[in-house]
């Protein structure tokens, strides 16, 4: 039978520690992970390869997370690309901003690895 192709997840964060932790957790859960340090690099990465899910930090140099979400949503092919945002605390204002920018959901960091995996599974299978 056909071997299932690994889903590819792009994690966008200017913090190396965070990227490492997200990548490690998701790779352990069987996902393929690529990384980008800011929104601009994320746009390049998405143009270069199809990704199934984007997990982005909000505060980043060059291009912040909300701008990244808006830019992606402006491209028709990425209108239904799941995008999760990592926020530092359960901040209603941030969540509302993310929602109106077009985010699919949010995860509070520090995240619980199991929680991260379960949310990721919900949005991209």
């Amino acid at each position: 039978m056909e071997p299932s192709v690994k889903k590819k997840i792009l994690t966008v964060d200017d913090s190396r520690t965070m990227r490492d932790m997200v990548s490690f957790t998701l790779r352990a859960a069987g996902y393929d992970v690529v990384e980008a340090p800011d929104g601009q690099a994320a746009m390049t990465a998405i143009a270069a390869a199809k990704v199934d899910l984007v997990i982005t930090d909000l505060n980043m140099p060059v291009m912040d997370g909300l701008t990244l979400i808006r830019k992606l949503r402006a491209i028709p092919t990425h209108r239904s690309l799941p995008i999760l945002m990592l926020t530092t605390e359960a901040d209603e204002k941030k969540k509302a901003e993310g929602r109106s920018a077009g985010a699919t959901g949010w995860i509070v960091k520090p995240f619980n690895p199991d929680k991260l995996v379960s949310v990721v599974q919900k949005v991209c299978g």
Binding site: E2, P3, V5, D14, S15, R16, T17, M18, D20, M21, F24, T25, A28, V34, E35, A36, A41, M43, T44, A45, I46, A47, A48, A49, K50, N59, M60, P61, I75, P76, T77, H78, R79, S80, P82, T88, A90, D91, E92, K93, K95, A96, R99, S100, G102, A103, T104, G105, W106, I107, V108, K109, P110, F111, N112, P113, K115, L116, K122, V123
Partner: protein, 758 residues
């Protein structure tokens, strides 16, 4: 969460970098000239430290960084004005944060109340803004989350119901079932400019043409459709996404044909369904839109046979990707990651040090083999000799590569100095500008690290003792602000660092009287200006009338000199009264290996650093001149050079005294002064591994370090500038009369015997 503890080291490393970024940013932050990018960078640094700290459960650290972050947030929202007081508070907060990180790194709790003062100051700053901070205020009417579907959320994560519903709907409609074999699924995003219709083109025809190529599923996007009242009937407000499943022989160019006449007036993105087919023709005469696959690079990788297939339009069907083996995936994966490849890796320093050690041992082994082969008559074992020469060459290259791994730009030290200058200026009430140059000069990591203390002290010294007060400077016609210039450069295989100030220069009368008072100099001694200036390096010397709490912390320039010489370096001072002083540090680039020339004097072997050697010559009697009661000089290349008999200096018996019978090695110090060393013989060039004499024995004048030669003997590596000093004071007449004559060699020799057995 235990799984994540492996990232702690990454976190601490990254946090150290972030702290440095924040500190540099804070130091540049000045009232009235606020660079918002800088402020944002500081905010992000604190934010990232907090975020990671939370992941590892460092609750004290998180609590404190939250306070810090809140203030930074207000600064970047321009809710708090940037004042000198605020900057001071923030710099203090950055220090406390560093402290908290240190506690976390050691796994201990911060002492209770450690952050209280700083937190109070931060809150005070926040209160001063009058707002109390939006962070603590309730969020102002967030747009009500009106979603048709309930959000799926808890405290830690959530999914916006409507967003998820939209994705599911899109997924269902996309029905991403793989296309049947032999067929390719194309996704075409067709966004015509609004004036397309004015040029007589009809998008509907193009859509029909696409239909003729295969099964087309067409989605029309109405997002840009204006309200009826605003609608201009002559303009086009629609865009389309077409999913075309076509036979494999329908190539990209057939699709391009459809848009042939409108390509310039539309935004068209054509992608084959991922994974990428083996061949995609590059888009004709258009700049690739940002989110098309890197078609050019992909097709460039295709072997010639496949390129031929491309012209037939037989793109490889997607099926190959879905059930293809890892080979297919790996191949496309390489291209996909191209934009993300990092060109650096982080390596544990221990590993590099082990490598450096091994290279050192290899250098010794190579020298040992060379030593054994020296006795072989020339012409024999020709190939072995040649091989050995190559080995020597490779060893040298290997050594240089390894050393370059350890090399670091001095900017990591220089970047700490602005803060120091700021503090010193504040403490002394002087106005100081710091200028730096050559920050990118690279030098061994150990050298860089050991530069911090000496440079700190020298800069303090320059500001405290060198620079005048602003008023005094004004009276003298100088700008109110004094300048301290810090520079680094490579010279003669060493790194030379200079600290220059435009202050009052060294007060020689005061220095001399102080030295006499302390018994360091005999009253009435005649000394040159240079010699007087160098008195400040003597132990127990301090000129400040009152010990200020800046420079006078119990360390003097003698400590600086000791630190520098323990690194194999030297320090000198050049001063002009009224105009300023210049301190010059010269240090070796590496502390591990050097290229040396082995020379013999009597029974002893010495190593001269190659970088010091100008030439060696056998003088004719006519070249030698004796100065009465002084030293001998030699005429070399039209210049008189002082001769130094090494055997006299070190008291070595049975050595050649007559320079015309031995050899003279002409050497040069970093400051350009020359010296002729009288030796018995020059044995040859060799890389030697530097073994510290101080850590194994003790410091000797005129000797920089020791090494082990190929035959297992210990040889001393000579310090040319040190030799010059010794010869100047001893007058080269035997070893007596010198200020601190080097002991004759029995002690190191006995050590050498021990070492031989090791």
């Amino acid at each position: 969460m235990d799984d994540l503890s492996r990232f702690k080291q990454t976190y601490f490393d990254e946090s150290a970098e972030l702290l440095a970024v924040a500190e540099a940013g804070l130091l540049r932050l000045s009232p009235g000239d606020v660079d918002m990018d800088e402020v944002n960078a500081i905010f992000r640094a604190v934010h990232s430290i907090k975020g990671g700290g939370g992941a590892f459960g460092f609750s004290d650290l998180v609590a404190f960084s939250h306070e810090f972050e809140t203030v930074m947030d207000e600064v970047r929202n321009s809710a708090i004005p940037v004042t000198t007081e605020l900057v001071d508070t923030l710099i203090r907060a950055n220090d406390v944060l560093a402290q908290m990180l240190a506690y976390a790194g050691e796994g201990v709790d911060a002492p209770p109340g450690a952050t209280d003062d700083t937190v109070a100051a931060l809150r005070h700053a926040l209160a001063a803004s009058g707002g109390g901070g939006t962070a603590s205020a309730a969020p102002q009417t967030p747009p009500p989350a009106t979603s048709a579907v309930n959000d799926d959320e808890d405290d830690e994560a959530g999914i916006f119901g409507d967003a998820m519903a939209a994705i599911n709907a899109a997924r269902d409609s996309e029905a991403p079932s793989p296309p049947p074999a032999d067929r390719v699924r194309w996704t075409i995003v067709f966004r015509p400019k609004s004036d397309l219709l004015l040029s007589g083109n009809e998008p509907a025809y193009m859509l029909r043409a696409l239909r003729r190529l295969g099964d087309a599923e067409i989605v029309c996007h109405l997002d840009d459709l204006p309200k009826l009242a605003d609608l201009d009937a002559e303009l086009l407000h629609l865009s389309w996404t077409i999913t075309l499943t076509a036979d494999a022989e329908v190539g990209r160019e057939r699709i391009d044909d459809v848009f042939e006449f409108v390509a310039d007036e539309c935004d068209i993105q054509i992608t084959a369904d991922a994974p990428l087919p083996a061949v995609i023709a590059p888009p004709p005469k258009r700049d690739a839109p940002p989110n098309t696959p890197p078609a050019l690079s992909e097709s460039a990788l295709v072997p010639p046979g496949a390129t031929a297939a491309k012209t037939d339009g037989t793109a490889k069907p997607r099926g190959a990707g879905t059930n293809g083996g890892p080979g297919t995936n790996g191949g496309s994966g390489g291209g996909e990651h191209a934009g993300l490849t990092t060109h650096t890796i982080r390596v544990d320093l221990d590993k590099i040090d082990r490598l450096v050690n091994m290279v050192g041992e290899m250098v010794i082994t190579q020298a040992m083999i060379a030593e054994h082969l020296r006795d072989v008559p020339p012409g024999q074992f020709q190939e072995l000799q040649e091989g050995l020469e190559q080995l020597a060459q490779h060893t040298r290259e290997l050594r240089e590569s390894v050393m370059s791994i350890r090399a670091q730009p001095v900017s990591s030290v220089f970047s700490r100095m602005p803060r120091l200058v700021r503090e010193c200026a504040a403490l002394t009430g002087k106005e100081v500008q710091l200028a730096t140059s050559g920050e990118n000069t690279e030098v061994d990591k150990t050298v860089v690290e050991n530069l911090v203390d000496p440079l700190t002290h020298m800069i303090r010294n320059s500001i405290d003792h060198g620079l005048e007060s602003p008023d005094e400077r004004e009276r003298m016609g100088k700008p109110r602000a004094g300048t301290v210039h810090l520079s680094a450069q490579h010279r003669s295989g060493r790194i030379v660092i200079e600290v220059t100030d435009d202050g009052r220069g060294i007060n020689r009368a005061k220095v001399l009287s102080k030295a006499i008072e302390k018994g360091l100099v005999q009253p009435g001694a005649s000394m040159t200006d240079e010699e007087i200036d160098h008195l400040i390096f003597l132990p127990g010397f301090s000129t400040a009338d009152q010990v200020s709490n800046l420079s006078g912390r119990g360390v003097g320039m003698d400590v600086v000199r000791r630190n520098i010489s323990s690194l194999g370096g030297r320090i000198g001072v050049y001063s002009t009264p009224g105009e300023g002083s210049r301190f010059v540090l010269s240090l070796p680039l590496t502390l591990a290996v050097l290229d040396g020339m082995v020379i013999s004097v009597g029974e002893e072997r010495f190593v001269l650093p190659l970088t010091n050697i100008v030439e060696s010559l056998r003088p004719k009697p006519a070249d030698l001149h004796g100065l009465v009661n002084k030293c001998d000089v030699i005429m070399a290349r039209g210049e008189y050079v002082r001769l130094v008999h090494l055997h006299r200096l070190f008291g070595i018996p049975k050595a050649i005294d007559d320079a015309t019978k031995g050899l003279v090695v002409l050497v040069e110090t970093e400051d350009g002064s020359r010296l002729g060393l009288v030796v018995d013989e020059v044995l040859g060039q060799q890389q030697v591994v530097i073994k510290s004499l101080e850590s194994n024995f003790r410091r000797l004048d005129g000797v920089a370090a020791a090494t082990i030669l190929g035959d297992g003997r210990v040889a001393l590596i000579l310090d040319v500038a040190g030799l010059r000093e010794m010869s100047r004071h001893s007058g080269d007449s035997a070893s007596g009369g010198g200020r601190s004559p080097a002991p004759a060699l029995p002690a190191p020799k006995s050590e050498s015997r021990q070492r031989q057995t090791v």
